[in-house]
């Protein structure tokens, strides 16, 4: 988006927020319509469940509405909303007691060297795969990541939060965010390369 359009969009958003703070339900409805699909995608990506994502969507917008007076406008509204939705999503994950891999506090900062096994070029998978097939490939790859990697990747590379915002949202150190992002990016690269590489294009492999 060009800077002028972005600035106009933000001004328009600030007006909607001010109106909503004064109890204008329609104005809040417009904010909901603007972001509900992105928040649903975020929640679905983290929880990997349609049902949980629907709950998170509702809870996040209700909570944001309740605390709208506390929104000071220093951060972007969307970033503020993302923080609420991430917390709600993590609560859902933690509630799944059978899933022991959901602790974000887990110490995974090991000395283990990152590795790359699949070394092959690929181009424009969008041209070879239908939208539904692409979605399935991307979903499967991201689902295979541990939540501690998945959440960091989603916030940094899909939602485009800064390293600092991601660290603050997740209560992690900057070093932990960087380390997890590196591992998440490389693991996803590995999986997508396995799917998208052209046959016979493998170079050497294993760095």
């Amino acid at each position: 988006m060009d800077p002028i359009a972005a600035s106009a969009g933000r001004q328009d958003e600030n007006i909607l927020i001010e109106k909503a703070k004064k109890g204008d339900f329609e104005a809040y409805g417009q904010l909901v319509e603007r972001y509900e699909r992105k928040i649903y995608r975020l929640a679905r990506n983290i929880t990997q469940s349609n049902e949980d994502a629907e709950d998170v969507l509702q809870d996040a917008f209700l909570k944001a509405y309740e605390h709208l007076d506390g929104f000071q406008g220093q951060a972007r509204f969307y970033t503020w909303l993302v923080r609420i939705a991430v917390n709600e999503s993590l609560m859902k994950l933690r509630k799944r007691k059978s899933d022991r891999s959901v602790s974000l506090d887990e110490n995974i900062e090991t000395d283990e060297e990152p590795i790359a096994r699949e070394i092959a070029v690929w181009d424009n998978p969008e041209k070879q795969y239908s939208r539904a097939e692409m979605k399935q490939v991307l979903d499967e790859a991201i689902t295979s990541l541990k939540p501690i990697f998945r959440v960091v990747f989603i916030l940094r590379d899909v939602e485009e939060l800064s390293t600092e915002e991601t660290a603050e949202t997740l209560g992690l150190s900057i070093a932990a965010v960087k380390s997890r992002l590196l591992r998440a990016r490389l693991q996803l690269r590995e999986k997508l390369t396995r799917t998208f590489k052209r046959k016979g294009d493998q170079i050497l492999g294993y760095v």
Partner: protein, 90 residues
Amino acid sequence: MVTCKDFLREISEFLDDRADPQLQSELKAHITQCPNCWVILDTTLKTIQVYKGMEPQELPEGVHGQLMKALEKRCAAKTKKAQPPPTAQK
């Protein structure tokens, strides 16, 4: 001299342009000489791009309506709470 292992360790910082300038230029020099690392860099960048380009999902049917209904209810409760209690008539 930057090795392939160093490059892999720093690839994320390199992509985000957050490595220190000296290291950044050494990493840049490395990929001009190492086809493997160039491919890893290229496919990591493409991996990020395909996820970034993911369309936000359509909401399942009825979810938007349910959300708006819940919000309307909460909004009404909030407005009611904000109103001062009626004064007792003498």
